[in-house]
């Protein structure tokens, strides 16, 4: 069974704030839920399915269903870090296609900035079987991605200046987003001169730490057709787990080598059909490797691909992260997945900022990477289109 065209994203909402000092995480989940439902023209009483991941407090979807006051016939707590929310769209589409629900609400929210949590995921790793073999070597999140970058440089000649081009493109987009955490444009030189955090990654190779959140509403075709708001069909989905593989890890690729082709096959499209891409950007290296793995360029040629404004909207080879992405705009709860889908929906609705709106944006891709490039990750790819 293919879910192509059997579910639509009818509502999308990103919390406008990046620092939220006096609210609870569940309160922010509630605010983004209300925002996405209002965007769709629906209400809380229409929701019959709810999806959340490790950032949701308490007993996940059970606690949140009660807190929000939802009456549900379907829930999903799938936790794959920052890619969770893209996988939730796939799972929602599957559940809708199977007739288990009609209106699925997905939320992400967290307050790492106000709580001083710093970079990192929501923690549930206390008793993980790998913990004593990885966690006691000062392996910060950045250091893991730095090792992936170092190996990419070694095998393919990728340079720090090429990685910096990714931040430069994100910043050039963020200057048009009044809600972006960082709105200043930067140069390659400024990235290279920023503080070295974990060699070879600099401060400006890293995403921002922000409070906030976002929500999506995924609905059946029958519901979508009754709504006045333009909804976005889910055309293709792909997911893969990549892990350490008995200690034979290859740091130069991500799970996108599997999730990408699956999504393209389901959509009946190829990378050349994609006009806009939201690419998970926890760090610049995440973007570079993912672009190669999704087939936008040959393996090892990502550095060339992103150079000379390759990712800059509206006229680069592949405009990416036109909201400023996790590198500049928002990385709520230290996991940016949902904002990737939200900006793709804006592009397909022709509602991105005019300075970065891609003309005739018929097909868009959103990709999430959850976990760590240096160990295990969940990779989720979505291909979205325009309602016909």
């Amino acid at each position: 069974m293919s879910i192509r065209g059997r579910a639509f994203i009818a509502g999308a909402y990103e919390h406008p704030l990046r620092t939220i000092p006096n609210k609870t995480a569940q309160q922010v989940h509630g605010e983004v839920a209300a925002g996405a439902l209002a965007d769709a023209g629906l209400s809380f009483s229409d929701v019959d399915a709810y999806f959340c991941a490790g950032d949701a407090p308490g007993f996940g979807a059970l606690s949140m269903a009660e807190y929000l006051g939802l009456q549900l016939t379907h829930i999903d707590n799938t936790e794959t870090g920052g890619s969770s929310y893209l996988l939730h769209v796939q799972h929602a589409a599957e559940a809708i296609a199977a007739g288990h629900c009609h209106v699925a609400l997905i939320t992400l929210a967290g307050l790492p900035r106000s709580s001083g949590a710093g970079i990192g995921g929501a923690g549930r790793f206390g008793s993980a079987p790998e913990i004593s073999f990885e966690n006691f070597f000062g392996l910060s999140i950045v250091a893991g991605y730095a090792m992936a970058a170092r190996r990419h440089m070694y095998e393919f000649g990728t340079t720090s200046a090429q990685l910096a081009e990714i931040k430069v493109a994100a910043a050039s987009h963020a200057q048009h987003n009044p809600n972006a955490f960082l709105q200043n444009v930067v140069t390659v030189e400024e990235v290279l001169q920023s503080k070295m955090v974990a060699d070879p990654l600099h401060m400006l190779d890293c995403c921002v730490v922000t409070d906030g959140g976002g929500a999506l509403v995924v609905v059946s075709p029958e519901v979508a057709h009754k709504l006045s708001r333009q909804s976005v069909p889910v055309l293709g989905t792909g997911f893969a787990v990549k892990h350490v593989n008995n200690g034979r890890i290859d740091l130069t690729h991500t799970g996108a080598v599997v999730s990408g082709p699956r999504a393209f096959a389901e959509a009946g499209l190829t990378p050349s059909d994609i006009r806009y891409a939201s690419i998970y950007d926890s760090f610049t290296i995440t973007v570079l490797t993912t672009l190669e793995d999704l087939g936008f360029c040959e393996k090892g040629k990502g550095g060339e691909f992103v150079s000379n404004g390759g990712l800059q909207a509206p006229f680069g080879k592949l405009p990416f992260n036109t909201d400023g992405g996790g590198l500049c705009n928002n990385h709520p709860s230290n996991r940016g997945g949902i904002t990737k889908v939200i900006e793709a929906v804006r592009q397909l609705r022709n509602e991105a900022h005019p300075a970065v709106q891609v003309p005739n944006c018929q097909f868009a891709l959103a990709h999430g990477t959850g976990g760590n490039l240096a160990t295990r990750m969940g990779s989720a790819t979505l291909i979205l289109g325009q309602e016909v």
């Binding site: 710093g118 008793s127 079987p129 790998e130 913990i131 004593s132 073999f133 990885e134 966690n135 006691f136 070597f137 000062g138 392996l139 910060s140 950045v142 250091a143 730095a146 090792m147 992936a148 170092r150 190996r151 070694y154 503080k195 070295m196 955090v197 974990a198 060699d199 070879p200 990654l201 350490v244 008995n246 200690g247 034979r248 890890i249 740091l251 240096a374 160990t375």
Partner: protein
């Protein structure tokens, strides 16, 4: 020996021989008697062929650096340890394992550098497997 923090590792029935080995300055890993894979990290079955017939075997302790990062400033107990080197070392027997490189200046470390095991231990019996340059050992 390296001045980097040691840790209270979680030891269980699947991993006990590994930690006992490190205390005796030997690197023991399970090898699958069915498909011959060396298993990393240690566990009760072979993740390649799913056999539960494993045998603990002493490794050479030799390897090369697969990748590394020089961390300027760590988190938590590692806050004052920087700069330090986090690395993946590819053991001669196959597995690529997360570790620290010690006794090597950050400016000297490079991919493919030959390294050898260091059994980094404290007076309290805590021990971690780290590596140093073959020429420094």
């Amino acid at each position: 020996m390296s001045f980097l923090p040691l840790a209270d590792v979680e030891i269980n029935n699947e991993t006990q021989p590994f930690w006992d080995g490190l205390r005796n300055k030997t690197l023991l890993l399970p090898r699958c008697t069915s498909c011959t894979s060396v298993v990393w990290y240690p566990r009760a079955h072979c993740p390649v062929c799913f056999s539960t017939e494993l045998k603990w075997e002493e490794m050479s302790g030799r390897g090369t650096i697969y990748s590394y990062s020089i961390v300027a400033k760590g988190n938590g107990r590692w806050k004052e340890s920087g700069p330090y080197i986090v690395a993946y070392v590819e053991l001669a027997e196959g597995p690529r394992i997360l570790t620290n490189i010690v006794g090597v200046a950050p400016s000297e470390v490079h991919i493919d550098m030959p390294v050898t095991a260091v059994f980094d231990s404290g007076d309290d019996g805590r021990v971690l497997l780290r590596f140093t340059s073959v020429s420094a050992s």
